[in-house]
C-alpha cells in the first residue's frame, strides 16, 4: 500500500483552513469529494506571508496546527492533522469493497511493493534469488533499522574495539597476497593478476606436502610442512620470507677512489625484502619450461617455484646467499653515525 501523505514531514506546514459545514451543503454532490491539496499548483504561501526570514514577521500557523504543536510539546493528544479518508485501510480485508473500488485504487493495491526483480545479465547481480514475500533481503550484515542504539549522535552504533585489522577497505586482504598480486600484474591488468594469484594458491593447496631440506632452513617458527597446504597464504608467506635478503648492495661512485665504485650494504625493510624475493621468484618462474597450455600456465610455474623454494631446490637461495656474502665482505664500508 502506498504511504499516505504525511503532512507532518514537510519542512513547513501547509496551510489549510477547514471550511465551514454550511459552505459544503450548497455545493453540488460531485464536488463534495475528498478535499485535496494540490501542492504544485496551489500557492505555497498565503498572501499575508512576507519574504522576510525573521520569525516575528512570519504568520501564525492555522489553529489546528498550532494546537497540534502545543500538544506535542506538552505530550498530550492533539487534533488529527491528516486529511482525507484512509480508504485503503478501511477496505483492507473486505474483498467485496475492494472489487467496487475505482480501477486506479485497485491497481495501486495490486501492485507489488518493489518486490519484482529488475532484469540484469551480470553474474554479480542481486537478482539470483527470487525475493521472498517479506520484502527485499539484500543480505546486509548486522543492519537492523529497528534497534536503534541508545548512544546519541551515532546512527548505527559504535564499533566494537579493537577494530579488526582488515576492517579498513584498503587493507582488507592479506598484505603479502596484496603485494604479490601487484608484483604479478603486467600492463596494469589487476584482474588477471588476481586470477593468477588465486590459481597459485590453489596449486599450493593441491600440491603434495613439501619435504624440507635441512641445509636450507626456513625462517624460525615455521609450522610443520604438513600444515602448509591447508593454509596456502602461510605457505606463500613462508616461501617469500625465507628467501628474502636482509640487505642490498649500493654502489657508490667515486667514494673508493680510482674509478672504482664503493660497495655499501644497505639494510632493507620488510616490504622491500619481500619485494626483492618475489621478483627473484618470478624471474626464476619465467625461466621454467611451460608444459601446459591455456591461461593458468604462468601461475602453475610460479607455484612450482614457490614449492621448490620451500623444499630448498630453487636457485633463488644461491642468489640470496651471494648477496649476503657480498654484504659481509663489504661491511667495512658501512658508515655508522659517530658515537659521542
Amino acid at each position: 500500500m502506498p504511504p499516505r501523505l504525511n503532512i507532518g514531514s514537510f519542512a513547513r506546514g501547509i496551510r489549510y483552513r477547514a471550511q465551514r459545514q454550511s459552505q459544503w451543503r450548497i455545493q453540488p454532490v460531485i464536488r463534495t469529494a475528498i478535499p485535496r491539496c494540490r501542492f504544485y499548483s496551489d500557492e505555497k504561501d498565503p498572501p499575508v506571508a512576507t519574504r522576510s526570514k525573521r520569525i516575528d514577521s512570519q504568520s501564525l500557523p492555522v489553529v489546528s496546527e498550532e494546537a497540534a504543536k502545543m500538544a506535542k510539546i506538552t505530550g498530550t493528544e492533539g487534533p488529527e492533522l491528516e486529511q482525507g479518508t484512509p480508504i485503503e485501510e478501511v477496505v483492507k480485508d473486505d474483498k467485496e469493497a475492494i472489487s467496487k473500488l475505482p480501477k486506479v485504487m485497485q491497481n495501486a493495491l495490486k501492485a507489488k511493493p518493489l518486490d519484482s526483480t529488475p532484469k540484469c545479465s551480470r553474474s554479480y547481480s542481486t537478482t539470483t534469488t527470487p525475493t521472498t514475500a517479506g520484502g527485499v533481503d539484500l543480505g546486509l550484515v548486522d543492519f537492523n533499522l529497528k534497534t536503534r542504539p541508545e548512544v546519541p549522535g551515532v546512527k548505527f552504533g559504535l564499533p566494537t574495539l579493537p577494530i579488526p585489522k582488515d576492517a579498513h577497505v584498503k587493507h582488507r586482504y592479506d598484505p603479502v597476497v596484496d603485494q604479490v598480486t601487484n608484483l604479478l600484474m603486467r600492463h596494469g591488468e589487476k584482474s588477471v593478476a588476481q586470477r593468477n594469484m588465486a590459481l597459485i594458491l590453489e596449486h599450493l593447496r593441491t600440491a603434495p606436502i613439501p619435504t624440507i631440506n635441512p641445509t636450507r632452513p626456513l625462517i624460525p617458527g615455521a609450522p610443520p610442512p604438513s600444515h602448509l597446504p591447508l593454509n596456502p597464504i602461510l605457505y606463500l608467506t613462508l616461501a617469500i620470507d625465507s628467501v628474502a635478503p636482509l640487505l642490498r648492495i649500493r654502489s657508490q661512485r667515486g667514494a673508493a677512489g680510482g674509478g672504482v665504485a664503493l660497495q655499501i650494504p644497505v639494510p632493507l625493510g620488510q616490504r622491500q625484502r619481500r619485494r626483492t624475493a618475489v621478483q627473484w621468484i618470478l624471474a626464476a618462474a619465467t625461466r621454467r619450461r611451460h608444459v601446459g597450455s591455456g591461461k593458468g600456465g604462468f601461475a602453475q610455474r610460479v607455484a612450482q617455484e614457490l614449492i621448490s623454494v620451500v623444499e630448498g631446490r630453487s636457485g633463488v637461495w644461491e642468489r640470496r646467499n651471494a648477496v649476503h656474502k657480498l654484504g659481509v665482505a663489504a661491511r667495512a664500508n658501512v658508515v655508522l653515525p659517530r658515537k659521542r
Partner: protein, 475 residues
C-alpha cells in the same frame, strides 16, 4: 577413452603420393637424362676448410644462425607430444589428498536419493557412480572437484524438484503409458546448471536407468569430427562416425551393469555380424572396433532400449545453444548444415520436442550454458515463453515479426518445460560452507554474519560465485 575428434585421410594422402611416385619413376626409366640441377655433389663432398670460403662482401646481408650472446639460448628439450598440453588442460581431478576427510559426510543411497529428506544436505557420491559419471564426462574441468577429498554434492531445492520428476516417471502405474519428462535447465552464469545436470545423471545412475549423455554439444557441431551423409535420408542427414563410436563406448562403460544383463531380442540388419545371444553391452562395444558402422549400431541399441520391459532412459546434453543454430559443417553444395540435420542431434532433438516419446519412460534433460553460448535468438525466446507459461500465463511474449525466425528451433522447443536454477538460500549456503570448512578449504568460523556476507557477495547465493569468494580465495 579415445578422443572424439580425429584427423582423417592421412593414410589416403600417403597412398596418393606413392601412386604419383611410381608414375614418376616409370617415366624416368623411359626417358633417362642428367638432371640440370643437383645438390648431391656439395652434400656428399668433404666439408670446405675454414679459410677457403671467402667472407661475404661488404654491405651484403648474411644469415647468421650461430649461437652467440645476441641470440638467447634456445630450449632444446623435448616438447610435449601433440595433444598432451590439451590433455593436461582438460584433466579432471576429483580428489585432493591435502583436504581433510569430512566425518559427517554420508553417501547417497539408492533408496533415499529421490526422497525430499536430503534437501539442504551435502551428500557424497558413491564410488561406482563417480566412475560412471567420469565415463560419461559429466565432470567439467572448471568445477571445483579437485579441491576436496572426494566428490560431494549439495542437495538444493532444485535437486528436490528434479527428484520429484524422477519419482513421477518411476511411479506411473503398469497399465498407463510411461511418462517422459522434458526439461531445459536455465539460470544465470555459474548458478550450477551443469552441476544440476550431473545431479540428474547421478540420480539416474542410482535408480538403474540407462544414461546417454552428450557431454558438450559444442563438440558435435564445431566440425572437429568427421561427418558423412546418411544414405537414404531425405532431406540429407549427416552421421558422425568417430563421435558416435566414442559415445557408444561411453554408454557401454557407464551402464555396463545394466546393459550387460539385457539380451539382444530383435534381428537387426547391421553391416557387421553380431554374435548370437549377445548382450546390449556387446552390441554397443561393437562400435569401438567398427566406427564406420557406429550409426546403425546406435540405432539398433536405441531400438533395443525402447522394447517393452526395459529400464527408463536418461538422455542429457550440456550447452544446448550450440545445437540450436547452424553447425560449422558444410554440405556438398557449400551451404551450412543446420545442427538439426546431424543425425545424432536430430535423434536428441526429436526426443526433446516430444515427437517420439520414450515408451519405457524417462527424462530428456538439456542444460544451457552461461559462459560459452553462441547466440540463438529462437532458443532465448523459447525459454522466455516457457518461463512465462509457468509463471504468468496471461502475458506470453510474442516473437518480433520483423526478425528472422529459426522455425525448426521454435518447433522443437514449442512445449518444453524449464527448470530454473536460482541462487541458494542462506540455509543451503550455510550447509555447503560448513562442508567447505570441514574439508579445511575454508579457514573461517562459519557464523551467521559470515555466511550472510559471502552469500550477498556471491550475488545472493550464486553457487559458483560463492565457491569463488569462499574457497578459491579469489580476491
Amino acid at each position: 577413452m579415445p578422443p572424439s575428434q580425429c584427423f582423417p585421410g592421412f593414410a589416403l594422402l600417403a597412398l596418393d603420393r606413392a601412386a604419383h611416385h611410381s608414375i614418376a619413376s616409370r617415366s624416368l626409366l623411359a626417358l633417362p637424362h642428367t638432371p640440370r640441377f643437383s645438390t648431391s655433389a656439395p652434400r656428399y663432398g668433404p666439408p670446405p676448410r675454414k679459410g677457403m670460403v671467402a667472407p661475404p662482401k661488404r654491405g651484403t646481408k648474411t644469415l647468421n644462425v650461430k649461437k652467440g650472446k645476441s641470440s638467447p639460448s634456445r630450449d632444446t628439450t623435448k616438447r610435449p607430444a601433440p595433444g598432451d598440453r590439451k590433455a593436461l588442460r582438460k584433466r579432471i581431478v576429483l580428489s585432493n589428498n591435502n583436504a581433510l576427510e569430512v566425518p559427517t559426510l554420508q553417501d547417497l543411497h539408492k533408496d533415499t536419493v529421490l526422497s525430499g529428506e536430503n534437501e539442504g544436505l551435502v551428500k557424497g557420491l558413491p564410488e561406482d557412480v563417480v566412475d560412471a559419471l567420469r565415463a560419461v564426462e559429466a565432470f567439467k574441468p572448471t568445477q571445483g572437484w579437485r579441491l576436496f577429498r572426494r566428490p560431494a554434492i549439495l542437495m538444493r531445492k532444485e535437486t528436490t524438484l528434479l527428484a520429484a520428476l524422477f519419482r513421477e516417471v518411476e511411479g506411473t502405474a503398469n497399465g498407463q503409458a510411461k511418462m517422459t519428462v522434458r526439461k531445459v535447465l536455465i539460470g544465470e552464469r555459474m548458478s550450477g546448471k551443469s552441476t544440476m545436470l550431473l545431479q540428474g545423471l547421478t540420480m539416474a545412475f542410482m535408480r538403474d536407468w540407462v544414461v546417454v549423455n552428450l557431454p558438450d554439444a559444442k563438440d558435435i557441431t564445431i566440425a572437429h569430427t568427421e561427418y558423412a551423409p546418411l544414405p537414404g535420408s531425405q532431406p540429407t542427414q549427416y552421421t558422425q562416425d568417430i563421435y558416435t563410436a566414442n559415445l557408444l563406448s561411453q554408454i557401454a562403460k557407464a551402464n555396463q551393469s545394466i546393459l550387460g544383463n539385457l539380451p539382444v531380442t530383435t534381428n537387426h540388419s547391421l553391416p557387421i555380424p553380431l554374435p548370437s545371444k549377445s548382450t546390449l553391452k556387446q552390441l554397443a562395444e561393437l562400435a569401438i572396433t567398427n566406427p564406420e558402422a557406429s550409426w546403425p549400431i546406435f540405432v539398433a541399441l536405441w531400438k533395443e532400449l525402447t522394447q517393452p520391459g526395459r529400464p527408463p532412459i536418461m538422455l542429457a546434453i550440456d550447452n544446448l545453444s550450440h545445437i540450436m543454430r547452424n553447425s560449422e559443417y558444410l554440405s556438398a553444395d557449400v551451404k551450412p548444415i543446420h545442427a538439426h540435420d546431424l543425425a545424432l542431434v536430430r535423434h536428441f532433438v526429436d526426443r526433446l520436442a516430444g515427437k517420439t516419446p520414450l515408451p519405457n519412460g524417462g527424462m530428456i534433460l538439456a542444460a544451457t550454458s552461461g559462459s560459452n553460448a553462441p547466440t540463438s535468438p529462437a532458443l532465448d525466446f523459447s525459454i522466455q515463453v516457457a518461463e512465462a507459461r509457468q509463471l504468468n500465463p496471461e502475458s506470453i511474449p510474442q516473437w518480433n515479426p520483423y526478425k528472422n525466425v529459426d522455425q525448426r528451433v521454435m518447433e522443437c522447443l514449442k512445449d518444453v518445460g524449464v527448470l530454473k536454477v536460482a541462487g541458494l538460500t542462506k540455509a543451503e549456503a550455510r550447509s555447503i560452507m560448513e562442508y567447505y570448512a570441514a574439508s579445511g578449504m575454508l579457514r573461517a568460523q562459519v557464523t551467521e554474519p559470515f555466511v550472510t556476507e559471502k552469500w550477498s557477495l556471491a550475488g545472493m547465493g550464486n553457487i559458483g560465485e560463492l565457491e569463488r569468494v569462499s574457497v578459491r580465495l579469489r580476491v
